[in-house]
Symmetry: C2
Subunit: 547 residues, 2 copies
């Protein structure tokens, strides 16, 4: 009788989940499929495989070994795709440097990650020269010189140039097996306060994220799906959460891939047109810029599918995209979650719904992808009802969420609680699993035992004639915990009273849409509202000001 | 500077790949989706979740614990689906009893697996009564009495009846976390010689098989795909390789599922029609029977997709299916591989191919699914060229292949070699990754350093006028290793000489289709050819006879 209580022992035949294992099928099934860079460089998947091996050999010569960190400063390119595979496949860690940080922050992240080798695109030479003296761990610099420029003015002692290094290296490399929990990638989040924090993902996590993302994106009944016949172009930077992990999915699917270099709206639209792009992902701002650019006027977007993430998908943008024939839908995740948690794909039978309901569904936070254990909970980790009304903070378990911040145990502790990663997002879930984020935890107002969404009250007040801008914040209250206060900027020429606003909000309370606690205690008229550097309401500042 | 060489340590937040994790999304996204049994029992996914918990509670009361084995003898049913989840989710092992084995073999497998609890459908009562005395490990019997019958005649001391047990149990059960390498399922292969051998799969393996199968099946450009809008009905028994793992995939997709009970062709066709079934999988024989039954004449199969596995998909059956509007394609795998290894889905752009080429592609062995490292090799594990001509044995690595036979180290050793599982199938691979199995390793003829496919030579000889049946076997030869011998049965009234056959085969050698070594050394005319009990050529017997 067998000893079933013992787990099946991992044997010599155990199969670790390594990024190299993602490459078995694409090079077999789509060997002649194209990878295109800016419409100028074209290569096949067979060439990609060779270049991955060349890059690994080149890096080995520069001293990269298992556990080394290789940092990259490049635009979205086939080179970046090569790094996504070659660096982790040799057992090293790929640091995708966030080139939008300040020079000091960039130096900090490279030092903090302990990068030994730094790839620098010509466009970032001045920046790297300015921080060279601060870099403590970089031993070797590799120049990415796609223009054949001389870069005479630079003073960086480059060990190699990217293409020359590949040309001089063998196209064969025996990528070894190792522990699937080995760190594969790292990058830094842009916190609004404090130093950037590093998140990191293992081979196992990236393989599972790829498979599940592939399964979730391919399985809708019709539309909104990423499949083998698509042409893929990322529109979220490759330095940011591995471009949402999509280049890994695209490669396993064996689709044509298009990398656009630096984001210039007219050029992006030309690439969609000229290369026949059918699947992309971006933040709202990028799509908004693209739809508004000159080249967009005559462009045919009717075969283009786009996942929007990073923040809520505005109904207005979604409607504008749908009018241009774009199959648009929202996705949800964060840097700490690799990122994919949920997708707002239409469920089977949705073609029978009216246009407004379809639009609403496309703009929700979506439904969890497989393996994601997503709940909305109160402070005691008790689940809120899934009735579309009850609020809670989104907490998640998934095989691909970061287990903490790199060398930052204090911040890591705050990220986790009760065995779940805490997203700080407040949401409802309806009975069919649709999540709707209503607020950030730090902005939600807790009054009389209820959670009031500051965003929802702002949205209602903004409907009142003459209201130009509004911020709703919570102020401490002995009896109720917190009470909502509305700060309102009126348009010129309007006369509105505090009672007008309160009565207006009260009607929504009477109709049952919002709690009676949501009616602002105080409505204060102000000349302007403090914003952050990226144009969002600075609620932290406002709360301090009106405490 | 971080210690990157150290793997990211699995922490308290590690997420084991457990079968329970497959259930997060379906009950959220499709709570009211239907599961149907024989058109008679209907329940929702929400009810399924409750019944899984009830079953686990019922089994706990019967003493099942982590490491126990629970064996099931049932037809394809919602009950079996409940067992697929509840038994492994509590940490126990599900043995799916192969009810087609002989009574003695069934008793052997139950004892060998060490099953403590045995579920018995009323139809199997006589069988279980006949072997009751042989069962060494079963402590408790559970009766599956769907007819409300009294089964008065039986002498088995049932501890419970399935439905009564569920009704008496709580619908809440806290399924624990445990090591993902814990054994989840076991079943026995029907070897042609010797005792049945047990294969077994862990939670990790089944989760990875589910995700990858889901991704592979959903991602074709058009057609041949299993997606959220489908209605699923298995047509390979649930006791055999978990019905190819498809019920797990169907559940994660959240589709309507239809379980047919015992396979009766007319009833199966009625279920396809009445329940709107759109996705199934079976061996050729089952589809052949269904297409030939009375109910099939007027049936509309135009929305039905079918994967055919178990053995090669005959062109004739594929053509007949296509003529009825069925979207048919082959899959490849074996009991030892969980089973999915490859799928013969049409590649993007295939709609431009002519019908015959599409038919050919649908009938190939297919292309590997993601994560499957599949090679064709010679005896020294050297890879054969992927040119569509060179032969080799298919060897595989994949995260879900069994690591050996249960408590059978000798057979396990034979299964593996050079780090790969050896399938005993001989195949070619063309430059676009299409595998074509040409023979079984034990039947291939090794002559003059080349591998000759006995199946291919048989196929060529069968084209010669008057040839009714033919078997090609290898006989030992001092100079060449082996030489092919053809055993030919002629149709009545035909006069054919040995030279006629040799010259016929030689023409294919001259045209380059086959090697010159493939021309039979001897052609022997016989009255009949020995067959196995399932009607296949008994080449083992023939080789011994003509050695």
């Amino acid at each position: 009788m067998p000893d079933n209580a013992t787990a099946a022992t991992p044997s010599a035949y155990a199969y670790p989940l390594l990024i190299k294992q993602l490459l078995h099928t694409p090079f077999v099934q789509a060997p002649n499929q194209e990878i295109v860079y800016r419409g100028q460089v074209r290569m096949t998947y067979t060439t990609l495989r060779e270049r991955i091996a060349r890059l690994a050999n080149g890096l080995s010569r520069l001293g990269a070994r298992h556990g080394s960190t290789v940092a990259v400063m490049d635009w979205d390119s086939h080179r970046y795709l090569e790094c996504y595979f070659a660096v982790p496949m040799m057992g090293a860690v790929l640091q995708t440097v966030n080139v939008r940080l300040s020079p000091d922050e960039i130096a900090y992240t490279i030092n903090h990650a302990g990068a030994e080798i730094l790839f620098v695109h010509t466009d970032f030479l001045p920046l790297v020269e300015s921080i060279k003296g601060q870099l403590e761990t970089v031993r070797e610099f590799v120049w990415i010189d796609e223009e054949g420029s001389e870069a005479e003015t630079h003073s960086i002692p480059f060990a190699a140039e990217y293409e020359a290094m590949l040309a001089a290296s063998s196209d064969h490399y025996d990528f070894p097996d190792f522990d699937e929990n080995t760190r594969a990638t790292t990058f830094y989040t842009t916190g609004t306060t404090g130093l950037p924090k590093g998140v990191y993902f293992s081979h196992r996590q990236l393989v599972l994220h790829t498979l599940t993302g592939m399964a979730a994106l391919a399985s809708p009944e019709a539309g909104q799906r990423f499949h083998r016949g698509d042409v893929y172009m990322p529109l979220t930077p490759m330095f940011h959460v591995h471009a949402w992990g999509m280049p890994y999915i695209a490669t396993v699917l064996g689709v044509k891939q298009v990398y656009p270099g630096r984001y210039i709206p007219n050029r992006l639209v030309e690439l969609v047109r000229d290369e026949g792009v059918t699947f992309s992902h971006c933040v709202s701002t990028v799509l908004h810029m693209m739809l508004g650019c000159e080249q967009a006027r005559a462009a045919d977007f009717s075969k283009w599918k786009i996942v929007i993430g990073g923040s809520a998908l505005p109904h207005g943008l979604a409607r504008a995209a749908l009018e241009r024939g774009i199959d648009i839908f929202a996705g949800y995740g964060m840097s700490e979650t690799c990122p994919l948690l949920s997708l707002a794909q239409l469920p089977p039978g949705a073609e029978a719904l009216d246009d407004e309901e379809q639009l609403r569904l496309r703009c929700t936070t979506g439904r969890p992808v497989p393996l994601v254990d997503l709940r909305i909970v109160n402070e005691n980790m008790e689940e809120a009802a899934r009735d579309g009304n009850a609020y809670g903070e989104i907490v998640v378990r998934a095989p691909w969420v970061t287990q903490g911040y790199l060398n930052n145990p204090e911040a890591s502790v705050q990220l986790w609680g009760g065995g779940y990663l805490h997203t700080q997002d407040i949401a409802t879930i309806d009975p069919t699993g649709n999540i709707q984020i209503t607020d950030r935890l730090k902005d939600v107002i807790k009054s009389g035992g209820e959670w009031i969404s500051s965003l929802e009250i702002e949205s209602l007040i903004s409907l009142y004639p003459g209201v130009s801008e509004v911020a709703v914040i919570g102020i401490k209250d002995e009896k109720w915990g917190e009470r909502p206060v509305a700060l309102v900027v009126l348009s010129e020429g309007f006369v509105v009273s505090e009672d007008d606003i309160k009565r207006h909000v009260l009607t929504f309370s009477e109709s049952g849409r919002i709690s009676k606690y949501a009616v602002p205690q105080i409505v204060k008229f102000v000349d302007s509202l403090e914003k952050t550097s990226v144009g969002k309401l600075n609620k932290k500042w406002l709360r301090a000001q009106f405490a």
